[in-house]
Assembly symmetry: D2
Homo-oligomer: 337 residues x 4
Amino acid sequence: MIIVMNRGASEESISSVCERLEKEGFIIHLSRGVERTIIGAVGDKTRIDRSNLEALPGVEKIVSILQPYKLAGRDFRQEDTVITIGDVEIGGNQVQVFAGPCAVESWEQLIESARAVKEAGAKILRGGAFKPRTSPYAFQGLEEKGLQLLAKAREETGLLITTEVMDPRSIEIIAHYSDILQVGARNMQNFFLLKELAKIEKPILLKRGLSSTIEEWLMAAEYLMAGGNNQVILCERGIRTFETYTRNTLDISAVPIVKQLSHLPVIVDPSHGTGKWQLVRPMSQASIAAGADGLMIEVHPNPSEALCDGPQSLTPENFTVLMEDMRKMARIMGKTL
Amino acid sequence: MIIVMNRGASEESISSVCERLEKEGFIIHLSRGVERTIIGAVGDKTRIDRSNLEALPGVEKIVSILQPYKLAGRDFRQEDTVITIGDVEIGGNQVQVFAGPCAVESWEQLIESARAVKEAGAKILRGGAFKPRTSPYAFQGLEEKGLQLLAKAREETGLLITTEVMDPRSIEIIAHYSDILQVGARNMQNFFLLKELAKIEKPILLKRGLSSTIEEWLMAAEYLMAGGNNQVILCERGIRTFETYTRNTLDISAVPIVKQLSHLPVIVDPSHGTGKWQLVRPMSQASIAAGADGLMIEVHPNPSEALCDGPQSLTPENFTVLMEDMRKMARIMGKTL
Amino acid sequence: MIIVMNRGASEESISSVCERLEKEGFIIHLSRGVERTIIGAVGDKTRIDRSNLEALPGVEKIVSILQPYKLAGRDFRQEDTVITIGDVEIGGNQVQVFAGPCAVESWEQLIESARAVKEAGAKILRGGAFKPRTSPYAFQGLEEKGLQLLAKAREETGLLITTEVMDPRSIEIIAHYSDILQVGARNMQNFFLLKELAKIEKPILLKRGLSSTIEEWLMAAEYLMAGGNNQVILCERGIRTFETYTRNTLDISAVPIVKQLSHLPVIVDPSHGTGKWQLVRPMSQASIAAGADGLMIEVHPNPSEALCDGPQSLTPENFTVLMEDMRKMARIMGKTL
Amino acid sequence: MIIVMNRGASEESISSVCERLEKEGFIIHLSRGVERTIIGAVGDKTRIDRSNLEALPGVEKIVSILQPYKLAGRDFRQEDTVITIGDVEIGGNQVQVFAGPCAVESWEQLIESARAVKEAGAKILRGGAFKPRTSPYAFQGLEEKGLQLLAKAREETGLLITTEVMDPRSIEIIAHYSDILQVGARNMQNFFLLKELAKIEKPILLKRGLSSTIEEWLMAAEYLMAGGNNQVILCERGIRTFETYTRNTLDISAVPIVKQLSHLPVIVDPSHGTGKWQLVRPMSQASIAAGADGLMIEVHPNPSEALCDGPQSLTPENFTVLMEDMRKMARIMGKTL
């Protein structure tokens, strides 16, 4: 940690910062420049709240040197984390596609989607039972009934299932039915939810928040890991920018960055990331080409009748074409699908 | 609602959109332009999910005409909502200042802050018992112990108290101790939390999300109101932009905009909005000058020892000066403090 | 164009808007809803300034239906524009790589870069002679001397050359030396520059502005085309967002979007788009996979000695590897390189 | 400057960075931490391009300690810069209002606006003769004819005049007619324009770019000052964010920040900053309350007939009311108007 003192900070201020740091166990390196004094503090940053130091008299700014996350970082673990559920591996050599409808609406809609997903070669079915909606007047999901339908679809197709959890009180029931629990973008910093999810023994798919930096995203993963759950899958799903043509701006550069900073698997959701089904195929290709470990794709048997997110859903036919393309793309990346 | 059809959309697509709209109870106005056909749909938009229409063949885009919120809007209620707790009015002619430490740390720290707040003339004490922290290794709050200290400080000073709620499971206990319950920026779209808070009979202070549009913010208020709780206070606390000099960019224009679109009271938090105590005074002045109904200010007896948000906290002395300035500013706005 | 009137707009306001529109040659469709009246105006929007209508009494908002660009749009020209210079085609079946140093620094540096670029298989040499720099104290380019070195490098290698133009007064001389003229992100809306470039007969590479929407970018292309220059190559180079890990956020979704909305070729600059050489390769792959017509890559014989943008420049060795990868990627996209 | 080395950077890399820095005249302070080595470099940062260092082997990141601007900074000049033109002072105790139409359209429109501006008590008339327009089909200004009308209006009213310059080739003629030359948001980093404007002896009003950080804005001022023109007035005019309700997000916090970092005067343009005339009054009040040295306000005798920016223009009546309010606001800030 580097503490930059104000121009003309008094000797008293400088000593007082140094004393404080030494009290916290840091080793101090003092650099006196022509204009400013700079204090280098070597030690474990997690032991002090950097913002307190900023409030000390004479301090201009604090610069962190080490990353604030530990368990989620490459420094902690060099090799890639591979999450294994039955014969499905996430983060390894296999590109995994999570596909299915935005929301579970009925048995017919779900099973038709599930069969299409299965036939096209994907191994994980997605579907929302509890839905976060901007409007209180929009469809909020089938709740437990939806979970039961998902479980039944798993039984019929052999697909793994993943569904979103939004409320700490629903973790138990969702964990009962689902193979993977998904934390949505709006809940990426719902710390109480994360702390509870840290205690269960199922993988967590952690979506990046709408306006979260990569560092904040990895810190949310750190909440899960610090609490005991190392099975974290990261999912880039678009960030909020000034551009209004797309629902969000899909930040594909997050894929190679996360691969560099962290050992956790990272997938991309081009359906939410763009909000337009016509962009799903090119952005899926781009994601795999950038090194993503998988994709999350919305598929609906009849997008124009969908109770949610119709415009970004693929038909089963389009999904089949997409899977063909992804197979080729996986191959030149040295992976399989 | 306006449905813009693609250039060259077939007659079949056009009729199919019209039929769908009529089925949903809309009245249709068809405009055939040289290049595109446009369908005007008059009726209650809350009855249809606009995104489904976007997925119909031939549809290029949907344009909403009416605001998606009802109860939170000025159209629904012309006069300003004034929330009354004892002799404190929020949203009326009195500028209200919510002040106190970021987090409750100890009885001494809290009561010293509370006395300073009281002496300077503010009527509402803020203080966090449950704290949302980016890092799992940072101080997470005193939890129920903190609530008890807040209640004790209310007893000693007569100040009202407000504190943050982050978890549906803590609503009952927080509502037991606190006069106003605060929803933080990260939870603005935690819809399960909002639905539960809609059922209680205490005012809710709803902070704007880091990257929430004003419309989404009012929709979050709509969740509370649609569920039965009309006592909503909005709080602008800065949005996330590309500028890194400040912690957030305080969007003061949100104040007159909310006043125009909604009847709800709106206050401003320049402490979080800027992250720097030196900016708190000018931005407080600007907020009142823009028409804000109040302010939320972090005050700490010793900012450099604070367990959270020290750099943006005022000392009791600086807070007293700020209150003097606010009194003058309130006066020229035709209000009191 | 749709004009949405205020709730309770008077009959007088409504007629006055209609009259104004009719005067401008629009055909009017009136829809009276329960809450609001909506006026559809069919005709040529380019003939009226939409913002004036917004200032008429009773008008709440104006919604555009047609795209504001004509010549740059797919509606105007269905087939892809292919720009041909000698045997080099941009926008066709060949993926084109523009490569070279950020700035021309010396003959040795330039020719070494150019040879590396040539050997690796690229056909266009980039290099800045006039450099836009945030600081007045940074290296500003070799100016005409740099242009002469570029021309000499073309002679020796047979590569085409492209360089940036920032000032209308330098167009003539730059057009004299360079095969393609580049407009940088900071000048995308330098309308005087665009108007002058519209008059020359060389292709223009138009970078997307730091915070330009795709529509504004296409409108900048429209300036060139409306003035007579149809040889426009668009270049996505990253937009400004809240994320600070990368220099910019490379918006790869812009590639398929531009391909949909426009017939112009679009390339991607992952060097500026990320600011980090380690991200150049994965983002180049992603760009080609998303359908880009080419890439712009910074290559420097000795990045740590570069006078500008060293951290985002590839060494000749790394560039050679990248070109190998791009060849494979082009192949599965049905293109050549 | 602080150079943070990679975890496990070799001794060779460390020495090579140190040598490079010493060669450039820096004094070196080495701190060896458990995980990383940090190199403090004391000296004149303007002498080295920081980005080259980032490209050296083993370097993880560079952290600047000193601000990159010199002449524009408070460190260089402690007291406020006051710009004096005749009896008008900008940056001193007088709040200055620059007002007038977006574009000069005709003599009648201009003189009517000018008289209204004058009567309401403002001293500086604004009006565009050369207009930057997103669309090539929109009104582009009366050009020299417009300048002549402005000069004639000055003669009739005694107001100072300010108008925008967009092209280095027009500087001479605009400087001939205008008292203050304005650089628009889109040209804030048009460095060739800035370099030429640095050579003239008239004050420059420098608008903040749409997505410029405060540091980049001060660096643009530095271009003017480094070239010899110290008469720089900064103008905050809104930044681009995700919020679409307003045309831009007016960043009022930029006012106290600039006052802290720089000695230059800073004014605010709430007309462009919001795009809506209804927001101009509250945001003007907020600007003065935050410490702004003045305002730039669009006034048009008939906003709905304006050839540009009608919706954000005040009528003369509304402007008169605004000036009354500003007078009161100036008074409590200890200033006059």
